[in-house]
């Protein structure tokens, strides 16, 4: 990086900080007013879960109750319904064995693609030859109908972004009431990952005349498979 440019940035840094410090010098942080958050009424786990599913559906996500034995039949049937014969998954990810077995045993002509490449040299493959992906998720948030994913080496972040159909597996036992309690309970501040993603539906936009359109840049469809669902949601 050029010398001049770094030097300029350094001098801007000291000028800006000096200007700001001059104004708030000696401010007593102990005297800052107390910040009180709103106390939300307690909601039963079942109600939280129902709300979670409802919000996802309002945002055009397809939500399906599943189990380890049903998952792959359901995945394959969703693929067949869309005439998709290739699925991107992450080897050595939480559900990878289930996915591999399911495809092998089904006898269906579904090609399982592993994300075993560096994106930099394989953009065409991911953008133009990957119609669908399946990933796990870490947690979920009831209040906003949100699925939380910490992308990993095995399930990189673009897996839930680039393929037009994204399938995601959610464990209902990892549902939190709201974002705040999740961040605190899982102590995010001491172990932030490279990238954390909150996903609440398929990609969308209302930028043309406030008319909602799905599949703006990311997935056109989000299919959510819920394990351990406490209530019957397949209605």
């Amino acid at each position: 990086m050029s010398y001049k440019f770094t030097q300029q940035s350094n001098s801007a840094r000291s000028v800006i900080l000096q200007k700001l410090k001059k104004q708030v010098e000696g401010a007593d942080y102990d005297k800052l007013p107390a910040e009180t958050g709103f106390t939300y009424p307690e909601i039963s786990f079942e109600d939280q879960f129902t709300h979670f599913v409802q919000l996802l559906r309002n945002n055009q996500a397809k939500v399906i109750s599943t189990s380890e034995t049903e998952l792959m039949d359901q995945v394959i049937s969703e693929l067949k319904a869309r005439d998709i014969s290739s699925l991107l998954y992450g080897a050595d990810s939480p559900y990878s064995q289930l996915i591999e077995q399911g495809i092998n045993q089904s006898g269906e002509q579904v090609e399982l693609q592993d994300y075993d490449y560096q994106l930099t040299d394989n953009k065409d493959k991911l953008f133009n030859h990957t119609p669908a992906s399946i990933t796990s998720s870490n947690w979920a948030i009831a209040e906003t109908g949100t699925i939380v994913r910490w992308p990993s080496q095995n399930e990189p972040r673009t897996m839930s972004l680039v393929p037009p159909v994204h399938m995601i597996i959610v464990d209902a036992n990892k549902l939190y009431c709201n974002f705040s309690s999740l961040v605190k309970d899982q102590n995010w501040k001491d172990n932030m990952p490279t990238n954390a993603l909150l996903i609440s539906g398929p990609s969308k936009t209302a930028d043309i005349q406030q008319t909602l359109a799905f599949g703006a840049h990311g997935p056109k469809e989000l299919i959510v498979f819920v394990m351990n669902s406490p209530t019957d949601i397949n209605l």
Partner: protein
């Protein structure tokens, strides 16, 4: 594919010029019926959405108080938090750059891109990059920079500016968008079907994402505690810009830093609900590091450019400092009767509407923006809906005062203070003040005024263009009260 036939002509001076011709801009845009109908429809829609997303007034008011205090705490600690943010980001492998002016910021970004040999750049939505007119700057250096937010993309194709900070193409209806596509995109089959139009944008932009060397985005919140950059979006273009190219450059104003990760959930909730009435946006993207060894995607290099551009001037005054609490939700413009009628372009500044009227004077100086604080009926709607309780009407009054102040040209004065001061107006008020302080003079002058009231002209400039001129009473109030007591 000729999607980038876009001639740069947006320079800093053009913004200055347009804000200083505010009155003409207003006349121009008020006469445009299609534009007015587009804005009226959009603002009604956004106001309804916001209202529906806050069913409990108690919750809304508690959240507003909480978030105001979160932002005020961040501002009191601002220099310290900026240093902490820089340290944390450095530890995480993200490089921080500082810029006092828009030119410095553009220069930093251009040099970063050049260091990568970058030519094709995609940009997620960033109002700060509009502020710096980054597109023109990079295009002048033969770089292709493509807006990837659907609204921004439409605006770029049409060679315009965003007219709203959240919905940049809100001034266009679908027929106008179709016309823009027809003019600029080869082989576009004319349609006004929104799904098809978005599909067309998707097709073109996905191709660009897959070929871009550098992605540029804004930042909604920067967390000092963890060194995390947060992006709020529905489309996925912010993720595309920050995850697919090998270099990610984020640019933001110095006021976007917050102290703790725990500050984020309430701010995020209030931001999306105030902006579009959504419980949360489709994506919330938290970036803390560049691609780590063993990871397969994400940028190898992440940079953050921190821009001042007048913010430190607002910071220097406790009342005006509240301007920097803004989280850029756009609720103030959605609820503003003036914005709804004149639209976002009439203001002639990057940030339109109530918040634009109180930010722009710090960025451009009061001289070219002196009309903006007067473009308000002071109805108070902006202050009432502001999620972080910025007292916008009070700040508008303060800026009006600053613009007519008798300046000494000393240190600590706002850039362009006193530029709206007129000698006659100042003399009239001086005389008024004197009369009201000296009872004898007041009596004599009132006697003359009532006795010679017939001399009062019936045309009083702009006032009488839509009203009849006021008439003085034949006798003063003092005289009449005296007469009654007798």
């Amino acid at each position: 594919m000729s999607v980038n036939q876009y001639t740069p002509d947006r320079t800093e001076s053009k913004y200055t010029k347009s804000a200083s011709t505010f009155r003409q801009n207003v006349q121009r845009d008020l006469a445009n019926e299609e534009l007015r109908s587009n804005f009226a429809g959009a603002m009604d829609y956004l106001m309804d959405k916001r209202k529906a997303s806050f069913p409990s007034n108690d919750e809304l008011e508690t959240l507003r108080d909480q978030c105001k205090l979160i932002k005020q705490r961040a501002l009191v600690k601002l220099p310290h938090l900026l240093e902490q943010l820089e340290t944390k980001l450095n530890e995480n492998g993200i490089k921080v750059h500082w810029a006092e002016t828009i030119n410095d910021a553009n220069e930093i970004i251009a040099q970063l891109i050049e260091s990568k040999g970058g030519k094709n750049i995609v940009k997620g939505k960033s109002m700060v990059s509009e502020e710096t007119a980054l597109n023109d700057f990079l295009q002048a250096r033969d770089m292709e920079i493509l807006e990837s937010d659907m609204g921004e993309y439409i605006v770029q194709l049409a060679n315009e500016h965003p007219s709203h900070i959240i919905m940049p193409a809100i001034h266009q209806n679908k027929k106008q968008v179709a016309d823009i596509f027809a003019e600029h995109i080869d082989d576009f089959e004319y349609t006004t079907d929104v799904d098809t139009l978005i599909g067309e944008g998707r097709r073109i932009l996905r191709d660009k994402f897959s070929k871009a060397d550098v992605g540029i985005t804004g930042v909604n919140f920067a967390v000092a505690e963890t060194g995390t950059l947060c992006l709020v979006e529905n489309e996925g273009n912010g993720q595309m810009s920050s995850a697919v190219p090998d270099m990610h450059i984020a640019i933001t104003g110095i006021e976007k830093v917050v102290e703790y990760l725990d500050d984020i959930p309430p701010l995020l909730s209030l931001l999306t609900r105030s902006a579009t009435g959504q419980a949360i946006t489709t994506y919330f993207n938290m970036i803390s590091k560049p691609r780590q060894p063993g990871e397969k995607d994400g940028p190898e290099e992440v940079h953050l450019v921190l821009l001042d551009n007048g913010r430190s001037q607002a910071f220097a005054d406790e009342e005006l400092r509240q301007t920097l609490q803004c989280i850029r939700c756009g609720a103030c413009m959605n609820h503003c009767p003036v914005y709804t009628r004149v639209g976002g372009h009439a203001y002639g500044t990057v940030y339109p509407g109530p918040i634009g009227k109180i930010i722009s004077p710090h960025q451009l100086g009061l001289e070219s923006t002196k009309d903006l604080p007067t473009a308000s009926s002071l109805c108070g709607a902006c202050g009432e809906v502001c999620p972080v309780k910025i007292p916008i009407p009070n700040i508008l009054l303060r800026l009006r005062k600053e613009s007519v102040k008798d300046t000494k040209g000393g240190e600590g004065e706002l850039k362009g203070a006193g530029s709206n001061r007129k000698a006659t107006e100042a003399a009239i008020w001086k005389a008024w003040s004197l009369l009201h302080r000296v009872p004898a003079m007041y009596k004599v002058s009132m006697w003359f005024a009532t006795r010679f009231r017939g001399l009062m002209p019936s045309k009083l400039g702009a006032w009488t263009s839509v009203r009849t001129a006021p008439k003085l009473a034949p006798k003063t109030l003092h005289e009449r009260v005296k007469a009654r007591r007798k």
